[in-house]
């Protein structure tokens, strides 16, 4: 079973046990043990690699010694033949044949060991990647467990034995409630302002026709019924606010 499958099984297993920590200490210990086992295995693989590499080196050393011997014997064979000593040449050639067979054997051995070294290195790299993933997964499981333990502690602190988990839904309701309260407060303040402040008084004065507002509909119609006023420009409105607005936006001035 892969480690992730084990972790999921642990989650599922504990999910049914009400009131229990999601992943209990034993489960974490099992995972930690697995991690330690893998680490030991990795160390063994590394030792094995060192051993194989040493073997390869020895084999290569033997190979190069045999190569020297082969050159040496080749010289002897040539020398014996040059002297016409057929018997000696044959004797050396027999030895040379042994050397060449050994040389071939060492070459085969080096090739085989190189293949082993290659696959061991790949296996070690894979195990290392898997180990660091495993470490992170265990770390995450531990953190998740700690978070849930903490959240459980928080809810217990809030409401004692009858613990209820405070959720985002509760917060959303609080936000809505606060917004409503704020809205109500704002409305009340506005009403108060209208009743006691200038707003209400001005409105009543204007309704009584006591405040002249030449920008209102009647004022505008009056301006157009009296065209001279329009020619003399904004001044005719007599409203200082409107005059200020005109000088602000009128680019022809």
């Amino acid at each position: 079973m892969s480690i992730l499958a084990k972790i999921l099984t642990l989650f599922r297993g504990t999910a049914n046990e009400a009131g229990q920590a999601v992943v209990d200490k034993n489960a974490i210990r099992i995972l930690d043990q697995e991690l330690r086992d893998s680490t030991t295995e990795l160390a063994k693989s590394k030792q094995e690699l060192t051993k194989v590499m040493a073997q390869r080196q020895l084999s290569a050393n033997r190979g190069s010694a045999l190569l020297d011997k082969r050159r040496e014997y080749e010289g002897y064979v040539q020398g014996a033949l040059a002297k016409g000593d057929e018997a000696l040449a044959r004797e050396v050639a027999t030895k040379l044949s042994d050397v060449e067979r050994d040389l071939q054997a060492e070459a085969d051995s080096v090739q085989r060991l190189d293949a082993s070294i290659g696959s061991l290195k790949t296996a070690i790299r894979d195990t290392e990647t898997q180990l660091s993933r495993l470490k992170q997964q265990i770390d995450t499981v531990k953190a998740t467990e700690a978070v849930q333990r903490a959240q459980s502690a928080v809810s217990a602190r809030h409401s004692g034995a009858n613990s209820k988990i405070g959720t985002a839904l509760d917060s959303l309701e609080r936000i809505k409630l606060r917004q409503e309260e704020q809205g109500a407060r704002f409305e009340a303040a506005q009403q108060l302002e209208n009743e006691s402040g200038d707003g209400d008084l001005k409105k009543r004065l204007s309704q009584a026709g006591l405040v002249e507002d030449r920008s209102n509909v009647d004022g505008i119609l009056e301006r157009f019924r009296n065209p001279q006023a329009v020619i003399v420009d904004g001044a005719a409105t007599g409203d200082p606010k409107l005059l200020a607005a005109e000088s602000l936006f009128d680019k022809s001035k």
Partner: protein, 138 residues
């Protein structure tokens, strides 16, 4: 070893969220709680371990969900567009609880952690507002 002590983390969070909003939880791990005033006093739990800082906040209890299958579907879809945080399912005190969580590398800066927590609050409130149609109407 974690890159921060509990005290350092507490200090950084208190600076950002106000001392009254941050509490240290009694635990073997480095566990802290931040109450987000801007997010309706949402409680975010923070656990710092060797490799990562894990932030989580309960979204809604499974008991409050009307149609679990439809809710799960909506959560998975929402998850793909949720910035920084993820939606998940956890068991707290034997009760299934949907959570919004985020993970940071342990070597993240203080501002990054603060940003993560704020984002978690915003995402949680956004998510529950969006997912409200799937909940039991009280």
């Amino acid at each position: 070893m974690p890159l921060r002590t509990r005290e350092q983390l507490h200090h950084a969070l208190a600076e950002a969220f106000g001392a009254a909003q941050v509490a240290t939880l009694d635990d073997a791990e480095i566990a802290l709680q931040v109450v987000l005033a801007d997010a309706g006093d949402l409680e975010v739990t923070l656990v710092a371990s060797e490799h990562q800082i894990y932030c989580s906040t309960p979204l809604v209890t499974a008991a409050q969900v009307r149609d679990r299958a439809a809710f799960n579907d909506a959560c998975l879809r929402l998850n793909t567009v949720n910035p920084l945080s993820n939606l998940g399912l956890a068991t707290i005190d034997g009760e299934d609880v949907y959570v919004v969580f985020g993970e940071l590398s342990a070597d993240s800066s203080d501002p990054q952690i603060v940003e993560e927590i704020r984002m978690l609050g915003v995402n949680a409130i956004d998510a529950i507002e969006l997912l409200k149609p799937y909940l039991v109407t009280a």
